[in-house]
Amino acid sequence: MDAVSAGAMQKGDVLVTISEPGCERTIEVRSTVQGLYGRRIEAVCKELLDDLHIVKGHFEVVDQQAFDCVIRARLRCAIARMGGLL
């Protein structure tokens, strides 16, 4: 299955892409505020995925300075678009 995305490359937003739904879960974060918030962004993603019991899929998160709640929204939308394949 092709990769699925949610969000956008615009200021204050994040583009989440999920691929390889069959593989072990990996999270890759790239952010324009890597130093200030990189670790926090990873933690937010990990927490959400753990809560939803998602253990598979490659999650690519390209961040342009989104708040935590926006990251969660885009993650949840991408997961929903995957439609239960994770």
């Binding site: 204050g12 937003d13 709640c69 969660r72 929204a73 939308c77 929903a80 678009r81």
Partner: protein, 286 residues
């Protein structure tokens, strides 16, 4: 409510600041400003962002009401929109292209269902009905009476003008009738009435003229599409200092008399005037 600022519900950087510009309300839009393939993104964003925004407003002491404009009943999206709204704690929805009592009943029934699921008291979610077509305007009275959930009318002049083959800027006269009918039906049921947006951002004078016209026809507020329209609209729809003073005098005088008719500053002041005065003061403390 004098002013409502429309903000697209899929642009986080705009949503976070929508409430700080001084409008009495904000309408997060799921309809025309969101592309079809982004409707689901916007719903998730509303759910995650609204509590965040509410906390921010509380810290700043901002009293700004929130409404969400959902997609119309002719789309496949409106139910998912309502579901997301209620899950996000939204209590006020603006429904586009309402044209009949049946439309209102349909939405109300679905809201009954959602509220029951979420264990909310029935009737918690209120509706602002957007009347945008000649049919809607004709049915205004019936729509107003269709449900206790309806709290306001909002007029959509663009679509209305299109239906009549008129250009928005040249339609001032033609809009008197629908505006009057909407304001009158709203008043009959104690609803608020908000006038249509003015899309010509460079024409501030036109905005004010349009707003003044609708005010004189009985509207109490107007929707805007850009923060730099807010100040002017708030001013048009506010009571002047003299009006507030007069209202205060009248209400004070009423407290001192037992009969319904009284003399105030040498003239007869009867019940309708007292009602007006009370309304002014209520509007003031909003």
């Amino acid at each position: 409510m004098r002013s409502w600022l429309y903000t697209p519900a899929n642009t986080p950087s705009r949503m976070i600041n929508a409430g700080i510009y001084g409008s009495d309300g904000v309408v997060f839009d799921l309809e025309d400003s969101i592309a079809p393939d982004q409707k689901d993104e916007a719903r998730f964003l509303l759910e995650e962002m609204l509590p965040f925004i509410a906390d921010d407003r509380q810290r700043q002491g901002i009293l700004c009401r929130l409404a969400v404009r959902i997609n119309g009943l002719d789309t496949a999206w409106w139910q998912a929109d309502l579901s997301a709204c209620l899950h996000a704690g939204v209590q006020l929805v603006r429904v586009p292209k309402v044209e009949s009592q049946a439309d209102v009943h349909r939405i109300s029934a679905y809201l009954d269902q959602l509220e029951a699921e979420l264990k909310l008291p029935q009737g918690t979610t209120k509706i602002q009905a957007l009347l945008e077509t000649p049919l809607a305007v004709e049915y205004a009275f019936l729509i107003a009476s269709a449900s206790a959930r309806i709290v306001a009318f909002s007029f959509g002049a663009e679509d209305y003008c299109a239906a009549l083959g008129l250009r928005r800027k040249e339609a001032s006269l033609a809009l008197d009738y629908p505006r009057s009918r909407i304001a009158s039906a709203a008043a009959a049921f104690g609803l608020e009435a908000y006038d249509s947006v003015w899309g010509f951002l460079d024409d501030q004078a036109g905005l004010i003229e349009d707003a003044k016209r609708s005010r004189s026809l009985g509207f109490c507020g107007k929707s805007v599409i850009h923060p730099n329209q807010i100040k002017a609209i708030n001013e048009v729809f506010s009571f002047s200092a003299q009006e507030v003073e007069e209202a205060q005098r009248i209400v004070e005088a009423v407290k001192l008399t037992s009969s319904g008719v009284l003399a105030e500053q040498g003239r007869m002041v009867d019940k309708p005037v007292v009602l007006w005065a009370r309304r002014v003061l209520e509007g003031r403390t909003q």
